[in-house]
Amino acid sequence: MAESENIVAETAEKIFADLADAQTINNDKKGAWKAPLWQALTEAGLPLAWVPEDCGGSGASLAEGFSVLSAAGRSALAVPLAETMLAGWLLAQAKISSPDGEMTLIPASPKDRITLNADGSLSGRARGVPFGKAAKHIAVLASGSGGLSIALIEAGKCRIEAGLNLGGDHSDTVTLDKVQSITIKPAPKDFDQSQLMLMGGVARSLQIAGALESMLEISVRYSNERVAFEKKISKFQAVQHNLARLAGESAAALAAATSAADAIANSTAFNDEVFLEAASAKIRCSEAAEKGGAIAHQVHGAIGFTIEHILHRYSLRALAWRDDFGSESFWAVELGKLVAARGADELWPLVASR
């Protein structure tokens, strides 16, 4: 799908350009940029893009929503757009309508579990919950004796211990102690926590790939401006080769993330092939965040290490996003186990499945 044909992504890009300019946000110490940005996103129907119209959303396709997340990554967006989209998507799996306002979702890590108690309340602890403090509502995947359920709860009913991720965005610990939900319904038969984590992981992969695109762009621009030893630093072969490697990491992240998004958007079942796509995207994009981000900083020198410069908005968020919904190490182990269980001669057929 070409970007120019995607009116949803174009709308998002326009809002980000107008209201989420990295330099403006970086200069704004009081956070005055947040409210108008969220207002504009809400008016455009983007936070509930993945919620069908009959559940209160705007009913965009998965592919359209994924392209919004790419654009959000390119802007290093620091409001809970991805989280609200994912929460709305999770609720829609059980035909639960989404409320207005910011949402997040739990668990946000494959290691955490929320339990559905016999009395219908929810208990458990979720760590590393993105924008937990900013959320008015939380979408929950909970396991009970009868299987998995999906619930909508008020964030105010939970105990939320604030934390910050590498990028300075909230990454909180959310504790539920017999919380009564607003709505709770059984999850679809084939749904599991792994699918939720991989959906979140693909969202983060797209955001990382977007951030790397921007890091490449601003690094190239800077190298064409900065003069050292009486010439632009872009004319030094060592700098050129570093930027070529950054382009390679950016390209790998872009290819892995968009391929996984395409696989999810066009598959009917969550099979091994989709697992390969989604897990690979999270692994490879996380690796690219490390390698690519290091080069972007190297090209910028000391100025890129300052709080005044915008580079950290991209580089630190890309690093932080590695941790959400299962790190690259976690998914590498899971993918490795899957590959081993299928056996050596089934590896190539899996890789060549698309």
């Binding site: 762009e217 004319k235 050129q240 080769h241 382009a247 490879r284 490795g336 060549a352």
Partner: protein
Amino acid sequence: MTAALRFDPIRLPPECEKLRKEVRAFLAEEIAAGTFDPHKPNREDTDVPEFSRKVGERGWLGMTWPKKYGGHERSFLERYVVTEEMRVANAPTRRFFVADRQSGPVLLKYAPEHVKMDILPRICRGEVCFAIGMSEPNSGSDLFAAKTRATKTDGGYLINGTKIWTSSAHIADYMIAIFRTSPPTKENRRHGLTQFLVKMKQPGIQVNPIGQITGQYEFNEVVFTDYFVPDDHVLGEIDGAWKQATSELAYERSGPERFLETYYVLTELVRAVGKNPDTRSAEGIGRLVAQLHTMRRMSVSVAGMLQAGKEPVVEASIVKDIGTVWEQQLPHRVRDLAAFVDADATNHETLENQLSFAIKTAPKLTIQGGTTEVLRGIIARGLGLR
């Protein structure tokens, strides 16, 4: 800023899956018949003419070329599937691979009609082998410093000089080479080289084998002494070979051979660790598979763009850069992960032998067909840095 890099998520069309099954069935038959052993990439005899003819019979050579030249007018994506299946099976493709990938398309674009009618159908039948004459003893990456001369004579040119590192020259029927027809100009140091079709196995050509550190003899020195090339074997513009190089390279740079060269060690590692690997092995394998999958999706994406008539030169160079670096590191990563594998595993000896060969192969992967340094220069130019 230049245009953003594109890697559209191409899905292989249904006809590719049908074809893939046919190729796998064919390769399984050939393996069963003893034509080649997929577990032995280090075999000495990499040239199997009979296999080459069978691949031609199946219609898998010149797949994208016009039917009138013996081609099959199929898509780049179908050709992609055949190429990757052959590579993963370690099939003996040496005899036809260069002709099918690279030389045929050059002839299609630049050769006179009667030459095309003569040679292209024979490539499609798997009967002829091509070599590429680029490097010389004093010009490798600096392609346009080539000195081997083509001097105009009655009805053609006389060639004098030496090409080197020429893969398959000892078995090749033809070579496509660049020779100097004029000195470079002050304005353009790339000026003055012309592309020629050279018939091998003729007087005036001497092929001297060069041993490689793997123990194989795949590349050669090729010495030309008053070797005659007729006028109708000039390919393209006199003195203008530099204009013809770039589009050719997009085909050459982004194929599955650019990241699958050492793939076999990964398969064998998965076999050695068994169904229930420890955490270290699982994580290592998971990362390698994720990297492999990403490479392949990038490479398929470039094939899709070529099919759509685009020339993704920068994207293709990126695929070759990170693909060759990956396949170079792969045997070392597999060796790390194999350190604690049960030495009594049934395939342990196979894995050890493969690792030994792959580790010795690894250094060439980032040199052949355009070094990492050259590729990064091309990428940098695409980024607007040069």
